[in-house]
């Protein structure tokens, strides 16, 4: 096996794998290293939403999603459009405000009267006051999509090594030359660091400061319900979807800020928050309240201080953290990272406001002032 690659990507999550796939599509030799299994972190433990209109990458995301199954060669379960229904007036007002923002950006949103909303969401109840219908966006299966990127990358000759944490990033004269792992050293022309919460510790020795804090967030899933026309339905303080199998998978509510060791977090505990999620799902879908909850789980998700992505290139190192909103944007993120690595700038969108420069004036005690501190665990 070769030990030199045009590009090494640290992190086999959805961002790293999409980036690697885009780079491999360019004919570059690519190696992805993951400390565990591909997509084991936030990438496969999220709501599967693909409707992040606020992002400069959104138009490209929208262009790509309908083609992803074909481009990758593997199923992602992508389904277009979303419906958001309200069970109280403040939420309905809020959804209408969001709809207004979408109008402004030119993304079509229908306002739904209660009857139409209930027809579109058969498991909604009499408490449904209406909602909004995104004629854009959608949702996909995170776990299947992560694996699809991984396999598509391999089909293009890319290599993935799992259970292979990067111990150090090697550099000479300010230029990264490769990485050292328990399985030996690998050299590269360029490095992409898309290692989620581990980005900070990996890059600190190079003098690249990426402020990130990780948190644990919880979801629950039920046994299958009859399939709805639009599986991408949420509201009532929840995000999530009905899977193509019919299961209702939803998350939301408070997160727990945690400290992460360089080797990552081993445990993914949940809490009685499952009960608060169950309450909200039962309120949102009264006609599905009899369905059994069959699992809960937690994901580890990193955020920047302003919750916006950190995508930047410094020398031959490209950093990509999507700050908790990465799955849906991943087709476009990979394209942007490919552009940064190969061309030095994103070809399809202006993304300078997502660069690391904005953190230069960050107060050293920002975690304390934002209250993003871990709780005592013992």
């Amino acid at each position: 096996m070769s030990t030199h690659y045009d590009v090494i990507v640290i992190g086999g999550g959805v961002t790293g794998l999409s980036s690697a796939w885009w780079l491999a599509r360019d004919g570059l030799s690519v190696l992805v290293l993951d400390k565990g299994v591909v997509g084991a972190e936030a990438s496969s433990r999220n709501g599967g939403g693909c409707s992040h209109y606020q992002s400069p990458l959104f138009l490209e995301e929208q262009r790509l999603w309908p083609m992803m199954d074909e481009l990758l060669g593997y199923p992602t379960e992508h389904q277009p459009e979303r419906v958001i229904i309200a069970t109280n007036q403040p939420n309905l007002d809020h959804y209408h405000f969001i709809a207004g923002m979408c109008d402004e950006m030119g993304y079509k949103v229908d306002r739904l009267d209660p009857q139409t909303a209930r027809e579109m969401v058969p498991i909604a109840g009499d408490n449904c006051l209406g909602g909004i219908h995104y004629r854009f966006g959608g949702h996909a299966n995170p776990q299947r999509t992560v694996q699809a990127y991984a396999w598509a990358l391999q089909d293009l000759g890319g290599r993935i090594i799992q259970h292979c944490p990067v111990l150090t990033i090697d550099s000479t004269g300010g230029k990264v030359t490769g990485v050292t792992t328990p399985q030996g050293s690998f050299s590269c022309g360029s490095l992409v660091v898309a290692a989620g919460p581990q980005i900070m510790a990996l890059l600190e020795p190079l003098g690249i400061h990426v402020p990130l804090v990780a948190a644990r967030a919880e979801m629950i899933v039920t046994e299958p319900a009859p399939l709805m026309r639009y599986g991408g339905v949420d509201g009532n303080g929840l995000y999530g979807r009905q899977t193509l199998r019919g299961n209702l998978a939803f998350g939301g509510g408070p997160h727990e800020w945690i400290d992460t060791a360089p080797e990552g977090v081993r445990a993914r505990p949940t809490t009685p928050l499952s009960r608060n999620l169950a309450k909200r799902v039962a309120e949102l879908f009264p006609k599905a309240a009899h369905l059994n909850v069959i699992r809960s789980w937690a994901g580890i998700i990193e955020n920047t201080p302003d919750g916006r992505p950190a995508i930047d290139r410094l020398g031959n190192v490209t950093v990509a953290s999507m700050s908790g909103v990465g799955f849906g944007l991943s087709p476009a993120t990979g394209h942007a990272v490919r552009d940064l690595v190969v061309d030095g700038q994103c070809s399809f969108a202006e993304i300078s406001k997502l660069g690391l420069a904005r953190f230069a004036t960050l107060a050293p005690d920002w975690r304390e002032t934002q209250g993003w501190l871990p709780l005592e665990t013992a």
Partner: protein
């Protein structure tokens, strides 16, 4: 300096438990009953929780045991079933008499405590449910006497009514008086199979045959129809399920054995669900029945004790009762160490011999996961479920290609194939999935990759699990995602006056 808390973080939002008890025992089998009785006699306040009688709908999905559609209509009358249970287990009446708060028909579906990556719990607590509502229950001492569950291994025709587990059979016969069969074939010949056969005989249930895949019986049977060196070809039946089992002897000669029930008594599996979700370390120990908590009986986490069949120890009712008492004595601080017992039988190797034989006689279209309809070929091929088109590329993918990336990962295979993701929570397939993956990866059974348990460890309806009395703090600090307003500002507005206006409007609960 006062610490600042993120308003949308979990800090302080998980409510105090609805109830606090001194001693809580989960499981009213012999070990749990022994522990609860002794604690009550020692003057402690004790709550004893047992999920039996289980709701008919749950039993119908083979939770918690593999009932295999062979329960009578008695399961539809839970109040009568409670009486039957109490009549059939004199120690329950003893517990009532000793002042134990006995809660039958109550499920312990969650157990949460602070540990790595979680400091949100005000204290450790259980999630329990009586089928109508869920509450939380904290404890000073918790004894998990959760017993064992059935080990299901698939052969041709196993996915029809009348194929069931030995523990479900025992429960239906000895606790519920609700077994619907009359003529059984028992698979396996170890202690579990012997106990099953003796129980059947004692209750006047016809034992048509005891099938052993190995060349010799694995325990002593007196005058019972044991057939060694036999393989199961398939179970055949009609609308009510099994009518006969086709077996082959060592020479391959096939024979049909008429029966209405096939009882799989190859092995039982320690029911470690609650221990695992609480954060106990889990290791695979083939002599103790696979995934168990290392160390066996005793304190596994602060204030949390393990006793009985959940430890992976097989033994008599008397052994379990004695161990329950011993563990409680230890927990109450007045006893010596527990007697150490040696296990010598490699249960996983035995399971594996059976599964290999099943694989050799059944087509690879045989179901592995009944809930999600995943066949053995789909599992080993790592193929997506039926409702997805299988692309040309997909056909070139298999467990083999996954193994090029690293050792087999049960969770990864589960997510890709959906095996184990159904309403029985993988109770009918996780052991066979694990062993099949090990076989395909050329790993010994003890290195078989396993899927983990998550809360709820029993299926619980949304409306039952729901916290309808949610705290004001939870309501006020609830956000769809992280409550970071700047996260949702359209890119073009960043750094413009419009940013402030939108920040002011994207508030509180309801970000998208």
């Amino acid at each position: 300096m006062t610490r600042i808390h993120d308003a949308y973080a979990i800090d302080g939002k998980i409510a105090a438990p609805d109830e606090v008890a001194d001693v809580v025992v989960i499981g009213a089998g012999p070990a749990g009953l022994g522990a609860a009785l002794d604690a009550a006699k020692a003057g402690r306040q004790v709550i004893l929780i047992d999920e039996n009688p289980v709701a008919a709908a749950l039993a119908g999905t083979d939770v918690p045991l593999w009932f295999g559609g062979r329960a009578t209509a008695a399961l539809q009358a839970p109040e009568r079933l409670i009486e039957t249970l109490v009549e059939n287990e004199p120690l329950i009446a003893d517990c009532f008499e000793a002042g134990v708060d006995v809660r039958l028909g109550t499920t312990a579906w969650g157990l949460w405590r602070n540990r790595e990556a979680c400091g949100a719990m005000p204290r450790a607590m259980l999630g329990i449910s009586d089928g109508q509502a869920a509450t939380t229950l904290a404890f000073a001492t918790l004894v998990l006497a959760t017993g064992a569950r059935d080990c299901a291994l698939g052969f041709a025709g196993w996915d029809q009514p009348g194929v069931m587990g030995a523990l479900a059979f025992e429960t239906l016969v000895t606790r519920y008086d609700a077994f619907a069969g009359s003529r059984v074939v028992i698979l396996g010949s170890g202690e579990l199979a012997r106990n099953t056969a003796m129980l059947a005989q004692a209750r006047g249930i016809d034992v048509a045959a005891i099938i052993e895949v190995r060349d010799a019986a694995q325990s002593v049977f007196d005058g019972m129809p044991v057939r060694c060196g036999h393989r199961v070809i398939r179970a055949e039946g009609g609308i009510d399920g099994v009518e006969r089992l086709i077996v082959a002897d060592a020479d391959g000669a096939e024979q049909a054995i008429a029966c209405d029930t096939v009882i799989m008594a190859v092995d039982a599996v320690p029911a470690i669900e609650l221990a695992e979700v609480a954060g106990a370390m889990v290791a695979t120990e083939p002599m103790r029945g696979g995934a168990v908590i290392p160390g066996g009986a005793g304190e596994i986490l602060p204030g949390i004790w393990l006793t009985g069949a959940v430890t992976g120890q097989m033994g008599s009712r008397e052994d379990a009762l004695a161990q329950g008492r011993n563990v409680m004595a230890l927990a109450l601080g007045g006893a010596d160490a527990l007697p150490v017992t040696a296990d010598e039988f490699d249960r996983m190797a035995y399971r594996n011999d059976w599964l290999r034989a099943f694989v050799s006689t059944s087509p690879d279209t045989t179901m592995v996961c009944q809930c999600e309809e995943v066949t053995r070929a789909d599992l080993i091929g790592v193929q997506p479920p039926n409702y997805l088109a299988r692309s040309e590329h997909m056909g070139q993918r298999s467990l083999g290609t996954l193994l090029e990336d690293g050792p087999p990962d049960a969770e990864q295979v589960k997510r890709l194939t959906r095996a184990g993701m159904g309403v029985c929570q993988g109770r009918r397939c996780r052991e066979q999935v694990s062993l099949l993956l090990a076989m395909a990866a050329n790993l010994p059974p003890k290195s078989a990759p396993r899927g983990n348990w998550r809360v709820p460890v029993r299926p619980v309806p949304l409306g039952v699990m729901a916290d309808w009395q949610e705290s004001a703090a939870m309501r006020a600090g609830w956000d769809v995602w992280f409550g970071i307003r700047s996260q949702w500002i359209p890119y073009k507005d960043i750094g413009t006056p419009e940013e402030a206006r939108k920040m002011a409007n994207i508030h509180g609960s309801g970000h998208l």
